[in-house]
């Protein structure tokens, strides 16, 4: 007998060990997310995937699916909270979308479109963060990091290198690079690494590739992140 839980009124089948997110994706349902990626260990930091499970808010990407659960994801309440959390990510860093070469291909932006975010709502923090352009092929603009740790996990779990780490605490969190100088060119990161390509924002960029696809013709210019992400996440092994 297959086990099921209810997601927004629909019965979702799942296997033991699956999270709510995994089961939802397998069944073709999008739950907004930024720090989750099917290829890497769930992390649970962005809180965009927060869903109401039997009255309690849980991260769908880490919380196990269980028989008889009632999960609410697409409610006005959940989506309002998600919008606020996304706005927090925007004001915490320096996200000047019009001048960012990731514009249109950025998941943070894609999620913001999806959630119908039209302003930043909160006060901007305008932190001072340097750019690391030391690597011949790769650029990091720390201003756009949302501390999702996807680069950290990709480097550890797939590249076997451990190039990145997240350091500090509270609002002073920062992404650091594992090298003696602390600079990217001194690290083991290469352009072919998975970690180079995983960033959901414009924080990690590949040099010499900007604007090959013009703005206006990019991924989220024509497709909503729910479509794109369902296609990509469910094709993962």
């Amino acid at each position: 007998m297959t086990q099921t839980f209810m997601l927004d009124g629909l019965a979702i089948p799942f296997e033991d060990g699956q999270t709510i997110m995994e089961a939802a994706i397998a069944a073709g349902h999008y739950i907004p997310h930024l720090c989750y990626h099917p290829d890497f260990t769930p992390y649970g930091s962005c809180k965009l995937c927060n869903v109401n499970v039997n009255g309690k808010i849980c991260t769908a990407c880490t919380f196990p699916a269980m028989e008889g659960q009632t999960v609410i994801s697409e409610s006005e309440e959940q989506n309002t909270d998600r919008q606020r959390i996304t706005q927090m990510l925007f004001v915490e860093g320096n996200h000047f979308c019009p001048s960012c070469e990731k514009s249109g291909n950025c998941q943070l932006q894609g999620v913001a479109y999806h959630l119908k975010m039209t302003d930043d709502h909160f006060n901007h923090q305008f932190p001072h963060r340097e750019i690391d352009a030391s690597h011949p092929d790769i650029l990091i603009d720390f201003n756009r990091c949302i501390f999702c740790a996807l680069c950290v996990r990709a480097s550890q779990e797939e590249d076997g290198k451990d190039v990145f780490a997240i350091s500090g605490r509270g609002i002073n969190k920062r992404l650091i690079i594992n090298s003696d100088s602390g600079q990217l060119h001194d690290s083991e990161l290469t352009v072919n690494d998975r970690a180079t390509h995983i960033c959901p924002t414009g924080a990690i960029l590949i040099k010499h590739t900007a604007y090959q696809v013009p703005i206006g013709d990019r991924q989220y210019d024509h497709h909503s992140i729910s479509e794109v992400s369902m296609e990509q996440d469910s094709s993962a092994p």
Partner: protein, 592 residues
Amino acid sequence: MNDFIVQLLEANGYRKTRLLAILRAIQATYFHIPKEAITLLSRLLGLPVSHIISVVDFYSFFHSTPRGQYDILFSDSITDHMQDKQNLMNYFSHQCQVGIGQVRKDGRVSLDNTACTGMCDQGPAALINGYAVPRLDRPKIDLIAKLIEQELPLAEWPETIFQVDDLIWKTGLLLNSRLEPGESLLAADARGLNATLNEIDQSKLRGRGGAGFKTALKWRLCASEPEQERFVVCNADEGEPGTFKDRVLLNRYADWLIEGMTLASLLIKSQQGFLYLRGEYLHLFEPLQAKLAERRRNGLLGDNILGKGWSFDIEICLGAGSYICGEESALIESLEGRSGIARNRPPYPVTEGYLNKPTIVDNVETFIAAAHIAIQGGNWFAAQGTEQSSGTKILSISGDTPQPGIYEVPFGTPISAILEDCLAEDVLGVQVGGPSGTFISNREFHRRLAFEDLPSGGSFIIFNRQRDILEIVRNFTHFFADESCGFCTPCRVGTILLSEQIDKLYDGYGSVGDIVALQELGHLLKTNSHCGLGQTAANPMLNTLARYPAIYQSKIKFPHFGPGFNLDEALQAARKIAHRDDSEAHLSQSGD
């Protein structure tokens, strides 16, 4: 440095889990964690440089640039402020010629703030090179300034400077009890271990750290895990502002605590325990080590305890300045030598805790209660308290009372009776359970201390009518923002936004919209944060807003709109340059 670090690593058995202890020793010797030290540690421990940097960055007692040889941190608890902290800190700054947040040019002395140091009953307090200095006043500061100028090592300073008192005003069920070393273990053995766990069950003991999980149930769950290696962890992090009862228990009743941990080890079949001691209680480290050694000598710890073939030992691990490390899974991360970031749940520590093995984490008071229950039986304990909250609770009472200190009261006691006990008068409100708990107004003193009504880990701060609610809320909210681990978005960003909003109100630039925004933000933090810190960070604001809307109202300067700053005031510098201050040089804003 090479030799120093190699020796240090040898002393710590090259264990990665000992990273905090290793870094503490480096910080104490070099007044910071030098870059070369990080490179060396990385090589010798086989840890990435970034791992070590992230730990250094996380804990507030570690620094990547040098602090002074005498590093002074003033406790920033609201109670310290109520005891004239700010003036004394300014005085110190003047006497030692060192700015707040700065290191003096000659590198001899540095001065800064730190979160509540657990000395609220004898504040204002500071830490000097990690050692607690309670009851600061001008003469004491003059003396300290002199000793610093003489470059006298801390060990040669008069002991009175570091004298911390145990102020116990009221004892009850627990503190009136007696316990001979080993007595509870023998009692448990005589009764049978399973029967002893049943007694704890019958006592209805619930965890004393605040959350109130049933202790017997937690221990049973852990004991029933198939994994054979299990751990007993005592949570002596005590970071909730206004709490200091564990400090007194650790100082005066260490024997009872160690006994309780040993008892737990028998019941869950564990051979290794950890006492996670908050860094602010450095002064208790040596005495506790001595106590452990004494018990080892007396056959109460180590191999073959009491000749019964039991084996259990305890290692003390010191924190390094981080409130979040009191959260049990963050505490476990810290024990493993990492930053204190709360884990995803499930799995819970009872199934995957320290090194992913089954682990029980309990408060100091919980272990002590369990030891006495093993001797006196479950009914003895359950006879006091209420239906869902048996026994007594040890409170740390501070703030506006002539008798701050420790009070043991039965659960179910009305707040009014507690206020009478400590002779508090003219009370405006009480923060029960610390900033993460509930702020009650003087119309609620009939309410009771109990899990059914007002739960508490032990913090009880009294405020009289002279106090400014917004100032209290501001202090607490900044505390949470400073202590957020920053892992999850709502808490990392939300606590900062909350602090900014409250500062804006406090400074008199609030609008009606700001109050709505505060409420909305508070709710977002409560429901969406990853762990208890973020979930409770807005409590001081939400609690007081519900009870004193008029006070918030009165802070609103601009009822119709809310500029983030006062334009007229911002033009002050321009007026100075232009040498004019006539009415034409001033702007009026709507609402003035």
